[in-house]
């Protein structure tokens, strides 16, 4: 009972913070601040994962997203001198169009959700939740059986490797070209 009340409180608290930070991310004039707001959104998302019972995922979120991706984004901002070159003023028409499109999507999606009975299995007589999700994730990721994810896991690792190489090649080429033009 108390835990449910806490969950409610935390959910709405984090939801408010998360939506506010998200809005700040897309609306902020300063791109570096937007990066910081994004970091906040991602951290609250980690909190949501904990609320949803995915502690391992919350850790991954913090490690990869906050510790890696956001840092990369900050690098991108700096390397392209976006923060000093660009005062971000989208045109009025574009803002209007984007708002209509985004809110239409939101309205439609919530309309669909409210009209759909999502099969909630967590009503007590459903199979119990996995006790140790971290262990289960590890087991499933390396499972070679029919329900295992070892092949997607390997593919993802290959993807990451190729991205590593590709990213450095693309960036290097531009640097080489810059050297030439000098």
């Amino acid at each position: 009972m108390i835990s449910q009340a806490t969950e409610t409180l935390l959910f709405y608290l984090f939801a408010t913070v998360s939506v506010g930070l998200a809005l700040a991310t897309v609306l902020s004039q300063r791109i570096l601040r937007a990066a910081v707001y994004l970091m906040g959104v991602l951290v609250t998302s980690a909190a949501f994962y904990i609320l949803l019972g995915a502690e391992f995922l919350a850790g991954v979120q913090i490690l990869v997203y906050v510790g890696g991706i956001v840092i990369l984004l900050v690098y991108a901002v700096m390397l392209t001198r976006s923060s000093e070159l660009l005062e971000d003023h989208p045109s009025f028409v574009r803002k209007g169009v984007a708002f209509v499109a985004a809110s239409a999507f939101f309205a439609l999606a919530t309309g669909v959700f409210s009209a759909t009975r999502i099969g909630t299995a967590g009503d007590g007589h459903a199979p119990a939740a996995v006790a140790d999700t971290t262990l289960e994730i590890g087991r499933r990721l390396l499972d070679q059986g029919a329900t295992g994810y070892v092949i997607p896991f390997e593919i993802i690792s290959l993807l990451l490797l190729s991205v590593l190489i590709g990213g450095s090649v693309i960036a290097r080429r531009s640097l080489a070209k810059a050297e030439e033009t000098k």
Partner: protein, 115 residues
């Protein structure tokens, strides 16, 4: 008070509404940001909310398995890959054109930016 709060515990509808709201904000950012890096951030926002959807469904539809969480991990990995490639492209682009303003990138050719 607490009882009241307990009855208001978020169900799947609330969770999904939250993620979809975040996703919509991400779309808005994608469509309005002029800075390419800003667009990339908005994409991350949308991706993040998408990953969260998997976890939500995992909890409310199939709590006895962890497939949704694994999917979320994959999404995070792909997001990381995407950011790496995106950053490399933007840096290259910036080297060519001295700008990453997408509203000025309306040519397929490189005419505007070479030297």
């Amino acid at each position: 008070m607490i009882e009241q709060l307990a009855t208001l515990a978020p169900g799947p509808f609330h969770w999904l509404s939250l993620t979809v709201l975040l996703f919509a904000i991400g779309i808005y950012g994608i469509l309005t940001r002029r800075n390419a890096v800003g667009i990339l951030m908005a994409v991350e926002l949308a991706l993040n909310s998408g990953a969260m959807n998997f976890v939500v469904f995992n909890k409310y539809v199939a709590p006895s398995a962890v497939d949704g969480q694994i999917m979320a991990i994959f999404v995070i990995a792909i997001a990381a890959a995407e950011v790496v490639v995106g950053m490399a492209i933007f840096v290259t682009l910036f080297g060519h054109r001295r700008t990453v303003d997408v509203t000025r990138m309306d040519q397929i050719t490189d005419a505007a930016g070479t030297n």
